[in-house]
Chain length 201, copies 2
């Protein structure tokens, strides 16, 4: 049975596009049952419509508070009934209550080798710190920022002349591979979370 | 002119052996002018003697305190006059005064991709955290633990069935490559430390 996926995004959704491509190419056995954006003008939601996916805008500015916005997102998710919720540049923090509804079923990607450089501007943080290797991390979302159990990481070399921007561009290429790889693993296999370790069986 | 090197160690000195091999093979243009151990029985100091290097034991237990021990080590180093001091499993913290004598000239290796997992048992820390990529870091020593500017890093995959021991064994192979690589870079090139970044020119 294909993995049923919901995608949450706020922007261009380049990781969403990579997931879409992988499904089209037959690399990833999945079905996207909902794409939800909190921003009405997000290019990613335009793409979702073009590609024929159920596309929903839940504009957070139209809601009184975070909780009210999440109620509506959760309602749409409940209707779509996904196995996995993939965050693809979703610029809203999820509440602990939201996360608790989908334990080990919400996936995010971060442009560093966590636990190094959590938070914003991870690529620029890496350049400023002077690491010679960085990468990206696909992980389950838990109640802490950029801290859930890790599914896939990919490393790449940081060059002496890298800026945050040039490094971000190369990491993005790895992100697309890593995100698809993580979803392929989740689509294929049983796993357990042993302490913090995600172990595929 | 060959890079003149002093090596400080406390144990088997497997990174010292890798450096020695690289010199013998002509990969690294360096000359070892002193090998110093704080432990009389360290296998590394036996090797140093076998290989004909000036070998010195400065047993820290024979000194009243850290400062007195360092005075003797510094005296030997001053006589050997190395360009670079390579720590190869040297299990003594260097004082800030010691480090200040050799700014950007003391090199150490750590079995993780710093800034992840500083301190002891880095490999077991990595396994417990559940990272999928780890590695090793060759860095300049500054007054903070495992925090100086990074010269070389090498990454490797962490396997689902890794223990701290199996991961440590694979990282050690990378350490030998990384340490030699870092010393080759230091022997060849000018570099500057720009903020925290080590940039080779």
């Amino acid at each position: 049975m294909p993995l049923s996926l919901a995608v949450l995004l706020s922007g261009r959704g380049s990781n969403f596009a990579a997931i879409h491509d992988a499904i089209e190419r037959g690399v990833l056995d999945a079905r996207i049952t909902a794409v939800i954006s909190n921003r009405p003008g997000a290019p990613g939601i335009e793409r979702a419509r073009q590609w024929g996916y159920p596309a929903h805008v839940v504009d957070h500015k139209q809601f009184a508070d975070r909780a009210a916005h999440e109620v509506e997102v959760l309602r749409l998710l409940a209707a779509a009934d996904p196995h996995v919720i993939a965050l693809a540049g979703y610029m809203r923090l999820l509440s602990a209550d939201f996360v608790a509804r989908y334990p080990h079923r919400i996936v995010n990607i971060h442009p560093s080798l966590l636990p190094s450089f959590p938070g914003v501007d991870a690529q620029a943080q890496a350049v400023a710190y002077g690491v010679k290797v960085s990468g990206c991390t696909v992980h389950f979302v838990d109640e802490h920022l950029d801290a859930g159990p890790i599914i896939v990481q990919r490393a790449l070399e940081v060059r002496d002349d890298d800026t945050g921007e040039t490094l971000a561009a190369r990491i993005l290429v790895e992100e697309h591979i890593a995100y698809v790889d993580a979803l392929v693993k989740l689509s294929r296999g049983r796993f357990r979370v042993d302490g913090r370790r995600v172990v595929f069986e």
